[in-house]
Symmetry: D2
Subunit: 341 residues, 4 copies
């Protein structure tokens, strides 16, 4: 396969490069980035020195089997039609094709969607939930990191009508790499290190994406409380969810539901009872880890999910999607557990 | 004043030493620790070298005006009666006198309370909530770190009947110093660094302490969901609370309630609208910072509170209590903002 | 005293604010910064909220007893003459008055010195080495952080002719706050965290400053190898020095020399034999800690020194200098040990 | 191949598991650890849950093609003879076979060597220096982490007689994982985080190992100054070396010497001039990165080398050695660049 990456100098883009270079079916890898035109890839990332990484201008990218777009929102949608017409499969790691509704997109991203018609052609690329729909598609919207960790935990439980839908509290914590390589005081080492904060309270753009998919699973529209926090670490994401269980539903019922959904999955793991997820369990890997309990004193379920935000939350899942649409084994190039410690 | 610290080698104990050495009214400071008998204080903490810190066996501690007990639970309660009889004021940084009920203590701490009668003599030492009761007391139960951060945020709002009591979700995040100086794999650098996890889910011992005080504020018994998490940083604590507001209550009502309670307080600050607390704002200081919003989409309040777990969450608040019971200015030895960055 | 800080929004400037607000002799504190004109100080640093920090434009600063300049190099020297003429004492935390030679300044800072004549009027403000010269001065060049840590260790030993001068290897390690608040990829959290690197190898601007002062101590010109490294932590600095001892000089001779120099000093401590400095011993304090050994196998001395780069390496030492020139007790506003842990 | 790991629960052991599970030629992997007998591997490391990792008692390990010993020093040497007699190839990640001299071993490790005769049968497993000797061997002493990083930088330069041997200053910095999983206050998160220190000054056990190999390269006995430091990060190691160049030797000569040695190597990289190694360039990979300059002012060479201490410094190099002795491609199971960021 001939594979390309637009936006190869961002963190998700570089992670794609790391994965695709190891992928046995990728014969040629073409990288591009508008921000560093004229530089060699190893000038941007010296740890690639001596690895002969080609690095092109965007306009030189052509004739690919698969194109990954790791660009800021808005930049991909305006060019996707042209890519598809040239028979490329497009996997968008950005937000342009995740929301079904152009209105919701405009409301949250403050941007008129550049190609509304394509929205209905895109499939939401969360393989453990939509595997059948992804196979054979040409346009995949790779989910956001927070949505991935949240949906893996909640979708099976909501589909099975085990949880109430009127109280869904999603308290999320992410490492700093999720904010990308762009400079800001909020990512300045001395201001982030030894510090912990909430951000985007009641206003984060992953909110409508999570709500769209949870509503679909529950079969009725629902809203969530979503609060992301920034953890002084580079990689990793952990989501703590609070929900009311439906009457008569036990902790064991919830666990059994997860087991049914995930027992044959390679990347989603229910930890042994009493062992709670840690972000490091997933670090550098495409794995997700789940755990839950029902607090006997309040009757609420407490549900915890963890992934590596750049892997299952971005580049790893994107390669998983590529494998599905191109007919490769789903875990090709993605085997391996976390880097520990 | 002649002041003593039992358990001076733990982190809270050492922080007390740092504060009390700067306190103008402390003429003599007596330290003790059972774990390192025979060592000099500067052998335990070399950064105190050349500061002439006396360091005694427990049994040599006597004739003090104020005694701080920074010992594991159970060790203080059995000796407090003797201390009080020798006319010492006792400030307990442990859990022995925080819970009003000996039964609840036994249930959560798996220990029969060593001196039940004294429970009713102790005052819960959260000055911003119980200042009048603390003045003149002989036995102060210094609150836990999680309870301090939670109660400062919630008590005024519950007292004013602005929040419903049936959904109180308290998602808490703490730096590692809260776990103390005792060795465990859970505090081993390579396992904590670049890692984030939940712990003590639905079972942390601060739960009944928070519920006791929130129930008192609300005027009726209530239960909470309390989930602590460990942040890969040394100091600091941030609490994110989700609650339903009572009908007709606006975000502005909630803020006004806080302002009324805290406008004359030196250590509790409501941040400007839109600025959310960061743990570093409080680091090394006795200050607490608050913020909230009402999520228009769910109608729930999202409330965030931060303190330094070793200061307002332990040693700083203990000194504040000492100032109150000994008639010193409440902020003596506690002035100063955070160490930034 | 009426005291001003130019450049109050940088890290050294903010640290000055923290110290001067606690200083009993500072009646009025005037802050200024060109970069955030029109903002309130608490907008820049929210942890100061509610503390009524005045914040002016540079041009409004006048009639001060002492003025601290925490500006990039070049900006202070052109204005200092005017400040001195208005009878202000000037303490420059930048590099403009540290080097005696305008040529050396131009060579390393790539800038013609704006006021060469003033160079001879400035005193190098390292109190433990030049206390007598500082008292009564009007213009103090506050030393760089690397020079402070290095000179405290080496100057007494070179003055006493205990070390050879032809091999002085200075391997330095600093926390990230030394690089200031300006944004760069080199200070971006995800690129610094879990990372360690050398920088400015054989080219760092503190090299000529260290050489100037070591040459003066040794009584002959000497050159050094100076290699700074960046440690993934915010505060702190540790210097490892390798030097040949003169014939017949023992480890004990070196220690005795330090003891003689520092036994009455409040801020410089020789640790007990076998205890090596850690940056955290000094964190948040104005203290320096020293240790050395003579490696029996090579005959070389290995010397280690640590300070907090923003305190003894910048703002703390600047306040110490203010105390000296204004006749305050030298440790006023600077008491207190490290924040631990 | 049937491969075993003794000491599979330590960090180097676990890293071996991660690598060997990905290695195409490893058909069966047998793990053992005395410390956690009776537990499942996923109880020790939950991120391996669901991966069916067998886990045995030491005595059950038999009939292997290759046995990796990741045990504390002293424990391997006493059992190696028995392993060899059963036709296993033994790769020791500990120190038991690194030193040629039993006397030097006893002096530094305070232990009589358990099987002196075997010392001469072991090969020092640094492939880039001793590749030919390793092929076909049965007993490989896998080098220490500090020696690996140091020798890769210095051996070619000393062999080519470009450096003087009387001043070799090796200032080393390591992440905390090098200290292993055993609990100690020195690895306690709150004491290591935001802290930097020297340790083992003039006494670290890797000193004689480095000297042995450097002396061999230089063709004459030499001694070094070796000072390790602990960096507040988990993985990574960076070595800064100071050496006098021989007369007439230029920076370009030194670089050319490295290039000659390493141009065909897959794991050792000379960075472009002006780009200095960062530990993160190597993190999670088997790569090493080098850079140097000659300081024009002192004439000394400053040489920097970085590796991942658990990969090229331990498990990665051990697998590289296995590939050599078993006739696999040298990089099998070791492809892939650093995890970034």
């Amino acid at each position: 396969m001939r594979v390309g990456v637009l936006g190869a100098t961002g963190y998700a883009g570089q992670e794609l490069v790391r994965l695709l270079r190891r992928h046995e079916e990728v014969e040629e890898l073409v990288l591009s980035s508008s921000s560093v035109a004229g530089q060699e890839y190893e000038e941007v990332y010296p740890h690639w020195c001596g690895q002969n990484i080609g690095f092109l201008h965007d306009e030189e990218v052509s004739d690919l089997d698969v194109l990954f777009c790791a660009l800021p929102h808005g930049l991909t949608a305006s060019r996707t039609r042209a890519f598809l017409e040239r028979n490329m499969k497009v996997i968008d790691l950005g937000a342009d094709f995740r929301l079904n509704s152009a209105d919701v997109y405009e409301e949250w991203y403050k941007l008129k969607h550049p190609d509304v018609e394509l929205l209905s052609k895109a499939v939401y690329g969360l393989p453990e939930l939509y595997r059948e729909k992804i196979v054979g598609q040409s346009l995949v919207a790779n989910p956001g990191c927070y949505p991935t960790a949240t949906l893996l935990a909640l979708v099976p439980l909501l589909k099975a009508q085990l949880l109430q839908t009127e109280m869904l509290i999603i308290d999320a914590k992410s490492g700093v790499s999720g904010a990308g390589r762009g400079l800001s005081l909020g990512n300045h080492f001395s201001e982030v290190n030894e510090n912990f904060k909430a951000y985007g309270v009641a206003s984060h753009r992953h909110t409508p994406e999570i709500e769209q998919e949870l509503s679909r699973a529950a079969g009725r529209p629902l809203t969530i409380n979503f609060t992301p926090h920034l953890v002084p670490m580079t990689r990793g994401m952990l989501i703590t969810i609070y929900a009311k269980v439906n009457e008569g539903v036990s902790e064991e019922d919830l666990r059994r539901c997860w087991l049914r959904h995930y027992e044959t999955e390679q990347f989603v793991h229910l930890l042994p009872q009493g062992t709670w997820p840690q972000t490091k369990y997933a670090s550098g890997s495409n794995h997700a880890f789940l755990q839950l309990t029902v607090d006997q004193r309040t009757g609420n379920a407490v549900i915890v999910s963890t992934i590596d935000n750049l892997m299952k939350g971005a580049a790893g899942q994107a390669v998983q999607n590529m494998n599905l649409i191109m007919g490769c084994p789903e875990n090709q190039g993605l085997t391996g557990t976390a880097l520990w410690p």
